[in-house]
Subunit: 384 residues, 2 copies
C-alpha cells in the first residue's frame, strides 16, 4: 500500500512508503497515521484544512520537516474547489490555523511562508499554485534529507575508521560495530522520507559501516520505542531500545561512540531545540568525550534568533500524555492505561534547548558545519 | 489497616503504615505490596523464606534500606519452627538465597551480616534471635531515616533562607516556595518509614518551609509516578509529575532550587550508585549551579569500594520492564500493555553511578558530609 517501487536513487526517495504523498490520479493527499504505529500501519486521507490541522496537532504527522510539508498541503486543501476570489480570502485564515497547530518547530512557519510567496506571485489558479508549492516542498525535503544523510555518513565513516585505528594501535580485536545513540524519532517518519538523524544512519549503513543504534524510548510519547524501533526494524538496522534514563550509564561505560539527534529549531548561535531530554544526553556526551551531532535541514534553522534558551517558545502539551500511556494489550487491542495516582498534577514541556557549546556539529544538506555564529552566518549568506 | 496511631514523635515512626511490620500477637510479618500501588493498597503476609525472596526480587518491597530489613525477616522466617540443629544448617542457605535476590544495594548484604553476627553470638533459640535482630534493624532504620531527615531539612532551611534573601536584595517579591527535584522513590516506601530523600522533604515540611517537589516518573518501573506521587499525596506535599527527560529543561529555567535523591550504594570516594538516570540529573544540576544532595543511611555506604564506576555491580533486569508497562485501564483493572514493536531488543540496566564530583553533599543520620574520601574516612572511623 503506497510503497514506491523501483531502483533506489542516491538522493531520491528510498524504496519505502512516504509519510505524506499526493496521488495525482485521484487528487488525494495521504499520510501514514503515526499515532497507530508500531502496532497498526494505516494510511489516512487528508480531505480538508481541518484534517491537516488535526493531523499536525494530534501528531498523526510529527517531526519538524514533515509538519511543514503537511501544512503546505493543508493550504492546498483549503483552496481546492474554491474560485480565486473566495481563495484570496481563505489563504490568510488557513495559514493562521495551520501555524497555530504547533509552536516550536520553525519549519511550519517557513513552509507556510514559502507557499504564501508562491501564491503572491501566482497569476493563474490559486489552488493549483498551492499544490505546486506543496509538491515542490515535498521534493525538496526528500532531496535535502538524502543529502544531509550523505554528509553525516561521511562523518560516521571517519569515526568508524578512527575506532578501528585505535583498536589496532592498542592491539585489541577489530571493533564489531559503531554504536550510535539517538533520541526521539528523527527518522523517515519525521520527514517525507529518509529522515534527518536516521538519514545519517541509513546512508552509513549503505556504505557498509556495521552500525548499532541505541534508541531512547523518548517519554512521554515514546516516539523512540514506537517509531524509531519500527523504522529501523523495517530497514534492517541493528538496534536496542533503552529508557531515557539509561544513556548516561552507557556513555560512561564506552558503549556509545556517537550521538546523532534531530532538531526542531536551531538558532544563529547554534543552540538546538529538540525533543525534551536531548539536553541531558548532550551533557552526558560532553562529560564522556563523545561526539554529539545534530542533523537538520537548513529550513529548520531560525536565523532570526540568537539565544535558544530565552527566545524559542517551548510547547506545553496535555497532562494525559504523561499520566497515561497507550499500548497493545494481550488481546491485540490498543488500550490506554493510567500510570499515576488520580488527581496528580503534571507538567509536560515538549522540547528543551541544548546550548551550542555541547554540540559537536550541525549536519545539514549543505555539509557539516560547526554550531557557532561564524559558521551559521556563513551558511546563511550562502543561501541568498 | 495497619496504620500506627498516636502522636508523631520526632525520631519515631510517622503516623502512617509501615512498609514492613511484625505483628507480635499473631507472629506475622506483613508488607505493603508496592507492585500494586498506586492503584491498589494491599498488605500481604510473608510466611516463608521463599516469600521474602520473591518479595525482594519482584519488587513488592524495594529501596535499599527496606530490602535489607526484609532480608533480615527472611532469615527469621527460614528458622521459625525449626529446632536449633536444623536451624544451624539452614542459616547459610537462607543468607545465600536472600543475598542473591538483588545485586546492587549494599544494605542487603549488610543486614544479612548483622543477622548472622547476632546468630553467631546467640546461645538460646536461633529463630528468636533472628527475630530480635530483624526487629532491631527495623527500629534502627526508622531512627536513622528520621535523623537524616532532620539534618537534610536544616540544609533545605538554609537554601530557603538564602532564596528569600536573594529575592529581598534584588527587590523581587517573596518567593512562593522551595522547589526540589527527586528521582525514583527514596521515600517511606523505600525504607521502613520516613524514607531518605523524602524524609528530608517531610522534616522540612514539618518546619513550615513551603515546598514543591518535581517528581521524575523514573522509567522503566515508574516508581516516581506510582510511589513517590502516591506518598507525597498521602502526606499533603505539593508535587508535580514530570517525565525523566524534563529535569534539565526545568533546571535551565530556574524552576529547581535543589535536587535530593537516595542511594543504593555509596563508595569511600563518595561515588553514588542510585536508580538509572540519577547521573543525568546530577550533570544538569552541575551545569546549572544547583545543589545536588544524596540522602542515605550510613548502612548503605560500602567503605570497601573506591571507584563506583568500575567496582559496583549494576543489575540488569528483564526486557519486559521496558517493552511493556502496567497501569489502570478505563474499567478499573490493572492491565499490561506493550509499547514497542514485537521482537525489539531491549537493554535494561537498573542503576547508574554519579561521580562524587557532581554531589554537593551526603545527608546521613550522622550529619551532612562532603562526598569525598577525607569526609568518608572520618565518618567510617567515627562508627567504631
Amino acid at each position: 500500500m503506497g510503497s514506491i517501487e523501483g531502483v533506489e536513487q542516491n538522493n531520491g526517495p528510498s524504496p519505502h512508503t512516504l509519510t505524506i504523498r499526493y496521488d495525482a490520479e485521484t487528487d488525494r493527499v495521504l499520510i501514514i497515521d503515526q499515532t497507530r504505529l508500531p502496532h497498526e500501519y494505516i494510511e489516512v486521507e487528508l480531505k480538508t484544512l481541518a484534517d491537516a490541522c488535526y493531523a499536525i496537532s494530534s501528531m498523526q504527522v510529527r517531526g519538524a520537516p514533515l509538519i511543514g510539508v503537511t501544512a503546505a498541503f493543508g493550504v492546498y486543501l483549503s483552496l481546492r474547489g474554491k474560485n480565486d476570489i473566495a481563495a484570496q480570502r481563505i489563504v490568510p485564515q488557513a495559514v493562521e490555523a495551520l501555524a497555530a497547530t504547533r509552536p516550536t518547530a520553525v519549519n511550519l512557519r517557513w513552509a507556510l511562508t514559502e507557499v504564501e510567496a508562491s501564491l503572491a506571485r501566482c497569476e493563474g489558479n490559486l489552488a493549483a499554485s498551492a499544490l505546486e508549492a506543496a509538491l515542490e516542498l515535498h521534493a525538496q525535503d526528500i532531496k535535502a534529507c538524502a543529502q544531509l544523510g550523505e554528509h553525516g555518513a561521511q562523518r560516521l565513516q571517519e569515526l568508524w575508521d578512527a575506532k578501528n585505528e585505535r583498536a589496532a594501535l592498542e592491539g585489541l580485536p577489530k571493533p564489531e560495530r559503531l554504536n550510535i545513540l539517538t533520541h526521539c524519532n528523527a527518522g523517515s517518519l519525521a520527514t517525507v522520507d529518509w529522515g534527518t538523524a536516521l538519514a545519517v544512519i541509513y546512508k552509513a549503513q549503505a556504505r557498509g559501516i556495521p552500525l548499532h543504534v541505541w534508541v531512547d524510548e523518548t517519554r512521554p510519547r515514546n516516539q523512540g520505542a514506537s517509531l524509531t524501533c519500527w523504522e529501523l526494524g523495517q530497514r534492517g538496522v541493528a538496534h536496542t531500545l533503552i529508557v531515557d534514563n539509561a544513556g548516561g550509564h552507557l556513555m560512561q561505560h564506552g558503549y556509545v561512540d556517537c550521538c546523532v539527534v534531530g532538531s526542531d529549531r536551531t538558532t544563529l548561535l547554534g543552540d538546538v531545540c529538540n525533543k525534551i531530554g536531548t539536553y541531558l544526553k548532550a551533557l552526558a556526551a560532553s562529560d564522556n568525550g563523545i561526539p554529539f551531532y545534530v542533523a537538520l535541514p537548513v529550513s529548520s534553522i531560525d536565523f532570526s534568533l540568537r539565544d535558544g534558551l530565552t527566545e524559542i517558545p517551548i510547547e506545553e502539551r496535555e497532562a494525559e500524555e504523561v499520566s497515561h500511556i497507550s499500548g497493545l494489550d494481550d488481546l491485540g487491542a490498543i488500550r490506554r492505561v493510567k500510570l499515576a495516582p488520580t488527581g496528580t498534577v503534571v507538567s509536560n514541556f515538549g522540547f528543551d534547548v541544548t546550548p551550542a557549546r555541547l554540540v559537536s556539529g550541525l549536519i545539514t544538506e549543505r555539509g557539516v558545519i560547526e554550531a557557532n555564529e561564524t559558521a551559521l552566518i556563513k551558511l546563511r549568506d550562502s543561501l541568498v
